[in-house]
């Protein structure tokens, strides 16, 4: 047999444990600010939306940059037209997605403040994803590690923790 449970468990448990610890850190930040979310429970709704959408934009960007590095049309030096185009593409994707979701939030809540909080957090987190993605991909590539194996777990986990921080920052800036 090609697959064995033992091998799968041995390969995945360490990385899942690290991931869990990082996510619990995010969870404790939420716990610390729980009262804000209980005051206006719709804010709880924004957590999976912002984290999920940005995590996926990050994954798309990460996969594309990884492929670009493998094939060679992106050079591992933080420069070049291809890299810039990918970053701009991610920003436009995020802007369009959050404009659409912002409209939905407005329909649900009739509150411009809530729209601003979600869109602001989403766009801020997209910038965070870009800042996390490019160095992770380039550094792992330079070290001879396949960025495909590293970038996506780092970005989706990073999105969860940074997303909570972006949301809290926007709540503070906009006020509830």
């Amino acid at each position: 047999m090609f697959y064995s449970m033992k091998k799968i468990l041995k390969d995945s448990i360490p990385i899942l444990t690290i991931l869990m610890i990082v996510e619990i850190f995010g969870g404790q930040i939420l716990n610390f600010h729980l009262e804000k979310f209980l005051l206006l429970p719709i804010l709880l709704m924004f957590i999976p939306v912002v984290n999920g959408v940005c995590g996926n934009i990050g994954s798309v960007l990460g996969a594309r940059v990884s492929s670009g590095l493998h094939v060679g049309y992106i050079t591992p030096d933080f420069r070049g037209k291809e890299l810039r185009e990918n970053v701009i593409g991610a920003l436009i994707l995020s802007l369009l997605t959050f404009c659409f979701l912002g409209c939905l939030i407005y329909v649900i809540s009739i509150s411009f403040k809530l729209v601003l909080i979600m869109m602001g957090a989403g766009l801020l987190l997209t910038l965070g994803m870009i800042c996390l993605c490019i160095p992770t991909a380039i550094v792992s590539f330079r070290k001879g590690i396949d960025p495909d194996n590293v970038v996506i777990p780092v970005l989706t986990t990073g999105a969860d923790v940074l997303g909570i921080l972006c949301l809290l920052l926007m709540i503070k800036l906009v006020g509830i």
Binding site: Y3, L30, M45, P48
Partner: protein, 183 residues
Amino acid sequence: MSIKNLIKQSLPLLILLGIAEMFTGGILSNMATMFKNTPGLIVIVPAIIGLRGNINGALGSRLGSAAHLGLIDVKKVFNKETKENVKASVVTSVGTALLLGFLGWLTSAALGYNTNALILITVTLIAGTLAGLILAVATVGIVIVAFKRGLDPDNITGPFLATFGDVVTVFCLLGAVILVGGV
């Protein structure tokens, strides 16, 4: 690939994902009183969602590779290799759920929150196991459907789990809290 192609191919999926996540978030906002009455419950929310996606994402990815390697065939998808993969995935789900409940309680207790270890561990165990089982079965189901239609499972399992994995997980979490009696 140009920016135009990237947007044309990714935007519809991202919007679909965003709508699904709004359902996930909707369940979470309806659980507000539960978070208030069960200290420490909110702590495990990001982790349980993240873990479920990663465990079953890996399962989907492995089954996709197995399909490409010719280890599973169209007529008999649920063979020995698939069973071993699903078993590993479910065992990982149960194991990480237990550990998550424990770590969630430990960190909350260390930070001075009045968290009930038994409730938190039971809730994560039920939610994690249930969601893990449902999503493992769903992942195999998608591989079968993809196979039958001549599609590459690698292109389907990832977006599917990203879109529905979180909803299923949070729904199981809600069920687990109700079952344990925290309202």
